[in-house]
Structure formats: structure tokens, C-alpha cells
């Protein structure tokens, strides 16, 4: 953008062919990852709803499913896989690291670990 650009004027014109191709691809990826996320969510609910699966297996299983889902959200829906997101990744994963320590600390301090 040149310095003459007026930021409050509506943008004109069509996206380039290259952009359009990229967006079509992105749309396909997003929809596929959404379907996969719905599948994972349903799987987690079914695991808990069925009485035959012991909770010793079910709890770690649904936690893994949740982690996979969250990583998919972050990298496909929130575009953390794109170029130029280095610092965004640093901040988020630092936050996750501190949050993990906080969770472990609080559980040890105020609760009895029982999974």
C-alpha cells in the first residue's frame, strides 16, 4: 500500500486469480477440518456416553482428542501456520506453557490428583 491510500475508503476491484485460487483451497481445507472436528467431538461424547469403555481409558482418550482439536483450530482456523506469525506463535505457546504450570501447581496445592 502506498502512502496515498485512504484507509477509510472502501477497497475496489477483484482479488487476483492467484488469491482466488488460494482462497478456494483455504475454503476446502477449512471445511474438511471442520468436518474432522465434528467427528472428533462426537467421538469424545460417544466415548463417555458408552458404558462399556472404562474411564481409565476414556479420560486420557478425550483429553488427547481435545488437544488435537485445539491445535487444528489454532493452525487452520486461526492461521497460525501462515508466514509472519512467528511472534504470535511465541506468545501463544508461552501462554500455554505458563497455563500448564499453573494448572499443575493449583492441582497439587488445592486438590488430590485423581485421574
Amino acid at each position: 500500500m502506498g502512502q496515498h491510500a485512504d484507509p477509510s475508503a472502501p477497497l475496489q476491484g477483484e482479488p487476483s486469480k492467484n488469491t482466488r485460487r488460494k482462497l478456494a483451497k483455504e475454503m476446502r481445507y477449512q471445511t474438511i477440518s471442520f468436518v474432522f472436528m465434528i467427528f472428533l467431538t462426537s467421538l469424545a461424547f460417544l466415548t463417555i456416553a458408552s458404558d462399556t469403555i472404562p474411564s481409565g481409558f476414556a479420560i486420557p482418550f478425550i483429553l488427547i482428542i481435545a488437544t488435537v482439536q485445539v491445535v487444528m483450530q489454532l493452525y487452520y482456523f486461526m492461521h497460525l501456520n501462515e508466514k509472519g506469525t512467528g511472534w504470535a506463535n511465541v506468545m501463544l505457546w508461552t501462554g500455554v506453557f505458563v497455563a500448564a504450570l499453573t494448572i499443575a501447581t493449583l492441582m497439587l496445592l488445592i486438590g488430590v490428583i485423581k485421574f
Partner: protein, 208 residues
Amino acid sequence: MAHAEEVKHDQTLPPNPETATLEGKNKFLGFWFFLGGETVLFGSLFGTYLGLRNGVADGPTPAELFHLDLVFIMTMLLLTSSLTSVFAMIAMKKGNFKGLMLWMWVTVILGLGFLGFEIYEFVIYVNQYELGFTTSAFSSAFYTLVGTHGAHVTFGILWIITLLIRYRKAGITLTNAPKFYVASLYWHFIDVVWVFIFTVVYLMGIGG
């Protein structure tokens, strides 16, 4: 006039209008700093809940309270609203202002549906199960964690509605593209937190 030509040339749609200006880039980066902090906030609430969830005193237990069908509907509403806000962003990058507005409104409506179910759930807990905020350590931790998430949903809805009304006739500009983009990031983050809430609070409350 050559100058006018140049201005017109600069208003063509860039591939990523949300980060085409320095302000947009800064908004994007600053927002991720904020989300890192939000992660820690929710981490502390999750830690508290996990520490206190067995302390039900004489009140109802999680297994008595939670119903999978209600939580499943709420989850589907929120997951779908995440997808519709992705569609809104794709419409924005295509220069399709109507599509952006439409998908954002759909996102808001799905979010309102989620919030309605959450309020209904809390009303049932308070009235039928007599689970007040001070009933037990579990109830305090539960209402604080899930309630904070609900407050984030409420704030996100108000935020997006404000943008939709403020820019209802503006078209896509270099000023509002980053704002819509950051609002949609916030919405995805709400969804990310919910994935852990339905897993750790509801599913683990019923199954373990």
C-alpha cells in the same frame, strides 16, 4: 489528475486486507499477545476447577448435574459458529462485503443460541438442583470457570454486533478489515476454550 489516479490505484483489494497496513499488522500481533495472557487466565481457572471438583460438600455431584445432550447441542452451535466466522473472513479476502456481513451475523446468532442454552442450564442448576455459587467448592469453581467463558461469549457477541452496526455501509476498508479479523480471532479463541471446558468439566464430570 495523476494524483487522483494514484489514490484510486492504491484502493485496490490486497490479498490480505487485514494485514496490509502497519496498524493492521500491529493489531494482529498485539491481539496474539492478549490471547497468550487469556490462555494463562483460563489456565488458572481450569487448575482451580480441577483441584476443587471433588469437593461437592452436601451439594449435587457433577455426574448428577450434567446432561450430555444439552452440552452436545451447545458444542455444535459454537463449533459451527467458528466455521461461519472463517467463511466471513474468506468473503472479506474476496472483497465480498455482503458475504462478510451475512456470515458475521450468522456467527452472532449461533453465539446467541449458545448463550441461551448456557443461561437455561444455569437456571436449571440453581432452581432444580439448588446449586448456588456458594453451595460447595465444586460449584464455586464450576460457575467461575464456565461463567467466565460465558462472559467472554457475551463480550464477543457485543463486539461483533458493534462492528456490524458501525460498518454496515462502509464496505471493506483498510481500517475495518483488521477489526473484523481480530474479532473473528477472538471468536475462535472462545471456541478453543470451550473444547477444553466440554472435555474437562462436562465429559470428565460424567465419565470420571
